[in-house]
Symmetry: C2
Subunit: 340 residues, 2 copies
DNA sequence: TTGTATGCGTTATCAG
DNA sequence: CTGATAACGCATACAA
């Protein structure tokens, strides 16, 4: 059977001291080239691998980053947009030797705050993939001295990487004005609880004014994040037929796809009767009929940038000025819009 | 500042011995009710929480389960079917006090096998969410004495929870025969590398014979798991127009949605000209136009059952007979099929 | 350059 | 019932 290997018995078998083994493993201190090679070879041969717990107990670094992934009603990992970002974050940090560990509020019987959990596990940093502004525990966590980044929330002392929502909306307006040459538009937003959605609504108001377009109605707020809420929202929007817009901007693709379906059920042709633009470019947007014109967020870049930022923070925790990185977005033109 | 709390200084402040504190935390050994209460109260007051590394170092249990989530080309967490199962698994084990940790092949500079990683981290068990039969490391892991379950692979010594594919296919045939009263059918499978796909093809062959239906052509194998491969596959299937089936069974919804799109592009009406049945019931199947008739896999039950099984295994590692749990599936009828 | 000793925060085994 | 004390496996300052 595989006997338990420690630097101790390895040292004995090699006729060396435990400390020496440790040194070669960590590339630290002085050790002669010959013994280093000898130890390395032996370690590889017997397949020794250091005990993480012991290492973590001794040194301060755990090479673990805690993940906050707020889940609403069992969705969570299932949310393709955020899991995609997390996936890219994950592959990036793993190459640098970090691991992911989900922060969980109750560990067995104990009920822990985020902060307590992090202290307990001694994570080196925290990544808030998706958070909730109502969650008090998040504030405590962010206020602490633990390095933290997010791709979702904007909070003082929190480093955040987000898409440039203003630019995205502007891209749409440029397109409407210069290519589509439309005048009457409407907007369906997601819930007000999301910062990103709010930024987009604000930009929408700003640019309708700036570009002198006509809002056919008040902004409609979908009551959730998904397909069905979009479906309902577009019915609400078009209740009064005289106000029919030429184009509907929608806060996210998930919602926009529901809008498309609703329009189809109302026998309103897209893009002939009404055109639709989304935001995000989720995987399904290009497969839907009609395929959806949208603003593409670079999920890979989002995840990687967050990863890079966090690693930098963990390496030198002194720089504690909050920083907001805005990433450029891109207009993807598909079938749901068309020049007249 | 938050001073670092250990059972040591807590003991001192309470005028007790460290060991005593440990006992009340772990509900072990004998300790008088009064001191137990006193300690508990104090702990809660100062928000003490035990250091995991130390605890893990000392005791054998780590209360961590390693996750194998094989990713092909950066998809991974983004795959809604598997992330959904993982999500349910996660919530279940977390309630029991376990945490998830993704197994990663290279930890920093070192390149580790799954097994080495698990020994290193001393995980209590392993959950293979999605694995690859070509991956030799998986065999080594499964052969070891570490408790392991999967919702994807079938391997000797591995405990597996899967949907009953045979039953699912039979459900479709019953429906075809008794409700739809169709005769000519065809099948589009996913890649042969997947066990689940193979089981479904086998069942398809078995039941076409048993129910005396007519296969209009050989089984077509999509060359990947996604939408596009389904799109291509249906073109290949219908290359020769005289062989048009009345109904196409597809190995998965992801692929089936592509089939639907392909059919639409060929101006073939669903369900009027050809009917389509999928497998899985992914979130989008009910939103597509036409919505997809399919076999629903109970992802929540899959995740939870895997979780329950693994926990049982970790609690008593002696029972090492491999076990396969088959979960029932359900036919969901939507627009892509219709009685004539 | 190499070996030794100590501590990291727990748990567990003994005595008291 | 409670208090010392020895591991757990490693890192590190210090001595050799």
């Amino acid at each position: 059977m595989n006997k338990k290997r420690t630097i101790y018995n390895i040292a004995k078998e090699l006729d060396l001291a435990p400390g020496t083994i440790s040194k070669v493993i960590n590339n630290t201190g002085n050790v002669s080239d010959s013994t280093r090679k000898r130890v390395l070879a032996y370690i590889k041969k017997v397949g020794y691998v250091p005990n993480n717990s012991a290492r973590m107990l001794k040194s301060k670094r755990t090479y673990t980053v805690g993940i906050v992934f707020t889940e609403e009603s069992d969705v969570g990992l299932e949310h393709s947009f955020f899991s995609s970002i997390l996936q890219h974050f994950k592959t990036f940090v793993e190459v640098q030797g970090y691991e992911l560990s989900f922060i969980v509020k109750k560990l067995g019987q104990h009920e822990l705050s985020y902060y307590e959990w992090c202290m307990n596990k001694r994570v080196d940093g925290v990544y808030i993939v998706v958070g909730n502004y109502d969650d008090k525990g998040l504030y405590e966590l962010v206020e602490s001295s633990i390095p933290a980044v997010s791709t979702d929330m904007l909070l003082p002392k929190l480093h955040t990487v987000i898409s440039d929502n203003d630019q995205g909306v502007k891209l749409i307006f440029d397109y409407i004005k210069e290519e589509l040459k439309l005048k009457n538009i409407a907007y369906i937003s997601g819930p007000k609880s999301s910062k990103a959605f709010n930024e987009r609504v604000d930009a929408y108001h700003k640019y309708t004014q700036e570009y002198q377009l006509n809002q056919t109605s008040e902004v409609i707020y979908a009551d959730s994040f998904g397909f069905t809420s979009g479906y309902n929202a577009v019915y609400k929007l078009l209740k009064k037929p005289e106000q029919k817009p030429e184009l509907i901007m929608v806060a996210s693709d998930d919602i926009a796809l529901g809008v498309l379906k609703g329009l189809s059920d109302m026998h309103i042709k897209v893009p002939e009767d009404i055109q639709v633009v989304g935001f995000d470019d989720i995987a399904f947007s290009k497969h839907f009929t009609p395929s959806l014109t949208t603003i593409r967020q670079d999920r890979k870049l989002l995840g990687q940038t967050a990863a890079r930022l966090l690693i930098e923070l963990m390496d030198n925790p002194n720089k504690d000025v909050s920083e907001i990185v805005k990433l450029p977005v891109e207009l993807v033109i598909r079938e749901s819009t068309r020049k007249k």
